[in-house]
């Protein structure tokens, strides 16, 4: 009897539809719980803070709803910077990894050097990029966008190149021998073996890069010449002591992050579908 019930539970748990629904439902439920604790000021007791430093969700919502056009414009700029920077940076990072995997003797050193970019703080990178891109365009908005995107890009390069390099080089035993026996060209080995092998690693890198891209976009906006974006608004409002508004923008940043993360998970589940069969 007990066995039976357990197996129903297990079957329920292992059911595909149940799993898909639960992987959305559970975090949402958890989020609702947190929101409730937040609104009920339980979080404030926990963190020993007040409703000014950590404003209530209801107030944050009000502010967002009252200012949808402003928020939308700022969010749009931040999304453009984060997404373009993430994509271009990841592609460059991947290309560096490809280069490094192709010429391993020289490439490994290159990966180390790229890792060094990781160690240059964004607060240093952002003003330097703003300085370097002064001549890009006469339109301050365009050159600011360029500078911000560059920052995000540089930051995303490192995590992608390190991970992708592993994916491109840590192959199953004898897989390389197999390709060698076909006298496969390096490019063929790359497209038929290394590339598919690296896909799961690429997704690991992207999982790390998504939040990094947004936070770098936000921070680089602090330093940009043209005043726009979620990050800039967060800073302005914090300096002005407008915590509720600042938190409204933080929430927007989080929503951007969640959406990007959701898209990533979706793409991952489609791309890696066939590998999940066990």
């Amino acid at each position: 009897m007990i066995r039976k019930r357990k197996s129903i539970w297990r079957r329920f748990k292992e059911n595909k539809a149940v799993q898909t629904v639960s992987s959305v439902l559970l975090p949402v439920l958890f989020g609702v719980l947190i929101l409730a604790l937040w609104q009920g000021q339980v979080l404030h007791k926990l963190f020993n803070t007040d409703t000014n430093t950590l404003p209530l969700p209801s107030r944050i919502c009000r502010i967002i709803i009252d200012n949808i056009p402003t928020f939308a414009v700022n969010a749009l700029y931040t999304v453009i910077v984060a997404v373009v920077g993430l994509l271009v940076g990841s592609i460059i990072g991947y290309l560096i990894a490809v280069f490094a995997a192709t010429f391993q003797k020289w490439g490994k050193g290159g990966i180390t050097i790229v890792g060094a970019f990781n160690a240059i703080p964004i607060v240093a990178l952002a003003p330097v990029m703003t300085n370097w891109t002064k001549d890009i365009s006469n339109d301050p908005n365009i050159r600011s966008m360029f500078a911000k995107t560059l920052v995000v890009m540089i930051v995303c390069i490192a995590s992608m190149s390190i991970n992708a390099f592993r994916g491109l080089t840590e192959l199953k035993p004898f897989a390389l021998d197999l390709m060698k026996s076909y006298a496969a060209k390096k490019s063929t080995v790359f497209f038929k073996l290394r590339l598919p092998n690296s896909i799961p690693y690429v997704f690991t890198a992207l999982r790390v890069s998504v939040p990094i891209s947004i936070i770098s976009a936000v921070v680089s906006e602090y330093f940009a010449e043209y005043i726009t974006g979620v990050g800039r608004e967060i800073r302005e409002n914090i300096v002005l002591g407008q915590y509720p508004t600042a938190w409204a923008y933080i929430v927007v940043a989080c929503i951007i992050g969640l959406v990007m993360y959701g898209v990533l998970m979706l793409v991952e589940s489609i791309v890696l579908k066939n590998r999940r069969i066990k």
């Binding site: 007040d50 409703t51 000014n52 430093t53 107030r59 009000r62 502010i63 009252d66 200012n67 402003t70 003003p127 703003t130 300085n131 002064k134 301050p140 330093f223 940009a224 010449e225 043209y226 005043i227 800039r232 800073r235 302005e236 409002n237 914090i238 300096v239 002005l240 002591g241 407008q242 915590y243 509720p244 508004t245 409204a248």
Partner: protein
């Protein structure tokens, strides 16, 4: 050296043209979209100025250096008289060496001045520690007085206290700051340091109401209803200035902290002098000076009790209160606006 001489050459060659009026300069720069300010609550005077000339209230962000100005990305740049302006003009370390080839537009003259450096604490702190507040103000003002009268010594004191600014610039700054502390917006001399001039305060508050844009509707309606009494209390500075010995009875708190609005430099020389000369000790206080310029703003730090006193600008204090903090200005150290717009003369000749 090379570049400085070349730029003065170019200004020499352009002296045949006639310099534009302030209005023309502002209009030209605004039309090019090359007016600069740091934002972050420093922009209201500029917005008021642009509005005064019926110009769109848009500006570019300056990054706390004058590189944008130097490279002509910004042609009409905000500069504090005591800091950026000195860097633009002078040729000491970090300076851009423009000398007299640059001109300035003064906010006080344009009638859009807002008051800057003050001393504040929370309303609750003031209420619970009145004697401490008064003693602190007494000693601080004594420090300011000494600093204003002895700028060389004050500059040295700040430099020794771990200032990050070169000693040349420090001295320049001390002299300029002295002017701000002892002259009001109309150019009259002030001798009761820390005084809150009603008219200038009111003008500042009015400009705040007009130009501080708050997305938070409850905050902006709160701001709308503010009177001076919501942001300042004059009793403490008045009593401090009346006292001759700095004795105010039992001090409720003797260990206090003050967070500056910016990095340690002569902008805040009064506190460093009071510290170095032992004025704080004389009134029975042990004071720690925390530099600002970090991500935790002085209003936040005072509001959440990390520090007791802070130095900020009136506009910042006003908007923080609108946002829900309960801060109280207790002294107004700078009596006039230190903000000017600087431009290269050769770019604005007819």
């Amino acid at each position: 050296g090379e570049s400085a001489s070349s730029s003065s050459d170019s200004s020499d060659s352009s002296t045949d043209g006639e310099l534009m009026s302030n209005e023309e300069i502002i209009k030209k720069a605004a039309a090019d979209g090359k007016v600069g300010n740091w934002g972050l609550g420093n922009e209201y005077e500029i917005l008021a100025l642009l509005q005064k000339y019926d110009l769109p209230t848009k500006y570019l962000s300056e990054d706390f250096t004058m590189d944008g100005f130097d490279q002509d990305n910004i042609t009409l740049a905000s500069a504090m008289t005591y800091n950026e302006l000195g860097l633009v003009k002078n040729d000491y370390d970090g300076g851009y060496k423009y000398g007299d080839t640059v001109g300035t537009i003064d906010m006080n003259d344009e009638g859009v001045a807002m008051l800057e450096d003050n001393i504040f604490c929370t309303k609750e702190f003031a209420k619970q520690n009145p004697n401490t507040v008064k003693a602190f103000l007494y000693a601080s003002m004594k420090g300011w007085k000494y600093a204003v009268e002895n700028p060389e010594e004050a500059a040295q004191i700040v430099f020794d206290a771990g200032s990050s600014v070169s000693s040349d610039h420090q001295l320049y700054m001390a002299k300029e700051v002295a002017k701000l502390v002892t002259t009001d917006t109309k150019g009259n001399t002030v001798d009761n340091y820390g005084n809150m001039d009603e008219e200038a305060m009111q003008q500042t508050l009015d400009l705040c109401k007009k130009y501080v844009q708050l997305d938070d509707s409850s905050a902006s309606s709160k701001l709308e209803g503010f009177t001076l009494d919501d942001i300042r209390d004059t009793q403490y500075i008045d009593e401090a200035n009346k006292s001759t010995d700095g004795k105010f009875g039992n001090l409720e708190k003797t260990d206090v902290t003050i967070q500056l609005k910016w990095l340690p430099q002569a902008q805040f020389m009064g506190y460093y002098v009071a510290q170095a000369k032992g004025y704080y000790e004389e009134v029975g206080l042990k004071v720690t000076i925390t530099p600002g310029g970090g991500d935790i703003s002085e209003t936040t730090a005072v509001s959440n009790g990390t520090v007791d006193f802070g130095v900020t600008w009136v506009a910042n204090l006003t908007s923080a209160n609108a946002g829900g903090m309960e801060l109280l200005e207790i002294a107004q150290v700078y009596q006039r606006s230190g903000l000017e717009l600087v431009y290269k003369k050769d770019l604005f000749t007819k």
